[in-house]
């Protein structure tokens, strides 16, 4: 089948024969370019990238992420954002006035938040913030995890995929850049969204995915 054509898969250390400057996920040795990851080759605006098929989230400044509060401290919360490092959320970075040692009144352990990565340094330390329009605590809902490299496929070109999911199931969905997805709505809708996302995850490296997901969602309606 043409529409199910699979993109080129490379393994770590495999030579990449493509025109362009080395981008993400590739390294040079001598004159040749090699892949760092098990992933797919993606040539875009003059750069050759390898997009990993799996792996953890590497925080980037400005990313919107969904995290879970895992610890409280007098002046900050510790948030798990599915990265190699835990992210502290300082009381100065939230829209509320929090007294010293009063953090538990605002966010408890287990609470889920939609936050933005405000800074990352070369040691890997991450800071996140809630002080921006749209960032908040997420009440209720259902959380699932996918590989962060597949987030762009779940969102789709210009948000087409996520819009499709929202429209056909009437769910509210937030997708964090870190691969955590928050879904809220009717139980049937949530189940459907999860099924669709798992399908996207499984077939992320194929072409014509949005059409197949649409087909899948419509089939479920009958």
């Amino acid at each position: 089948m043409d529409e199910k054509k699979v993109r080129d898969i490379v393994v770590p250390g495999e030579e990449i024969v493509a025109e362009g400057k080395p981008g993400r996920g590739v390294f040079y040795e001598g004159e040749k370019m090699y892949s760092m990851y098990l992933g797919i080759v993606d040539v875009r605006s003059g750069y050759v990238n390898v997009i990993p098929l799996s792996g953890c989230y590497i925080p980037k400044k400005g990313d919107k992420v969904i995290g879970k509060v895992i610890d409280l401290a007098p002046m900050n919360w510790v948030v798990d954002i599915n990265a190699p490092y835990y992210a502290p959320l300082h009381v100065n970075d939230v829209p509320w006035r929090v007294g010293f040692g009063d953090t538990g009144r605002f966010l408890e352990i287990g609470d889920v938040i939609l936050a933005k990565v405000s800074n990352v340094n070369e040691m890997g330390q991450v800071w996140i913030t809630l002080k921006e329009q749209g960032l908040r605590k997420l009440e209720g809902g259902h959380l699932i995890h996918i590989s962060p490299s597949k987030v762009p496929r779940v969102i789709g070109k210009g948000g087409s995929m996520i819009q499709l999911l929202k429209d056909s199931t009437n769910c509210r969905i937030y997708v964090g850049q870190n691969g955590t997805i928050w879904i809220s709505g009717e139980p049937d809708g949530i189940v459907k969204v999860i099924k669709a996302i798992r399908m996207i995850e499984r077939e992320a490296h194929t072409y014509g995915l949005t059409d197949r997901v649409k087909e899948f969602l419509e089939r479920g309606d009958e």
Binding site: I9, P12, G13, E29, M36, S54, C56, P84, M123
Partner: protein, 245 residues
């Protein structure tokens, strides 16, 4: 275990080995990726009589804090043999042998991973030997490298482990249990096949310089074959599945 005395003939008059292999022939190998759901990456290998499972967790923040390296990740491999993996029950837990193997495997894997990309973290690799039949450390390195690739960890190359040795004065590839116990030498190697770099080289027993060179060349050649199997296994997990559906 080298040099145990016995009257077993390990090489017959036709030059064939005890299990019917030629001196430069590998045992059958079967690999699978993504066998442990909860791990970040995992793999399973059957190499002759060896059955080994590997699971990778991380990179994640390294604890206790004093083991962190501020400029790179640490790779913590744990080689462990199941109590039922050998003929006589093995007392569970780390012993002198598995502590050494864990160390050398960690170092071999570190040489292939871009550890400088994840400062202050640890990458945990658990290698569980379910059934042992000689050459578990090289098979362990091979599965570990598959599991690392499956976990999406950046690497310079896949790693291949392969052993060679000497039995009945003949240099042979990939020793089995009997050859390991009653042979004269065993040379386990870990190789980065793309560049031909050696990530691990050990020797148990005695070999002349020429024999060692010969054994290493044999292992290098075999490593290329195993390397291709690794690549096929990894690609089959993604390419294969989608085409079948």
């Amino acid at each position: 275990m080298m040099g145990m005395k016995s009257d077993i003939r390990l090489i017959d008059d036709n030059g064939l080995r005890i299990d019917g292999r030629l001196p430069n022939q590998l045992r059958p190998i079967k690999m699978e990726v993504g066998v442990v759901k909860r791990a970040d990456g995992s793999a399973y290998i059957e190499w002759g009589g060896n059955k080994i499972i590997a699971a990778v967790y991380g990179p994640r923040e390294a604890y206790p804090k004093h083991v962190q390296e501020s400029d790179r990740a640490i790779v913590r491999a744990r080689y462990n043999m199941a109590a039922f993996s050998v003929d006589e029950r093995k007392r569970p837990g780390p012993d002198r042998r598995s502590v050494e193997l864990s160390k050398v495997i960690s170092e071999a894997l570190t040489s292939a991973i871009f550890v400088e990309k994840f400062p202050r973290t640890a990458i945990d690799v658990y290698i569980e030997v379910l059934q042992a039949d000689a050459g578990t450390r090289v098979a362990g390195i091979t599965v570990a490298s598959l599991a690392l690739a499956d976990a999406g960890i950046p690497m310079r190359d896949l790693i291949v482990g392969c052993a060679a040795g000497k039995v009945d004065d003949v240099v042979v590839l990939d020793l089995n249990k009997e050859e390991d116990n009653f042979g004269q030498a065993d040379v386990p190697m870990a190789i980065l096949p793309r560049t031909g770099e050696i990530a691990l080289l050990q020797m148990d027993g005695d070999l002349t310089y020429d024999e060692l060179t010969n054994a290493m060349e044999m292992a290098m050649d075999a490593a290329k074959k195993i390397y291709n199997m690794e690549i096929e296994t990894l690609k089959a997990k993604y390419g294969g599945d989608v085409n079948e559906q």
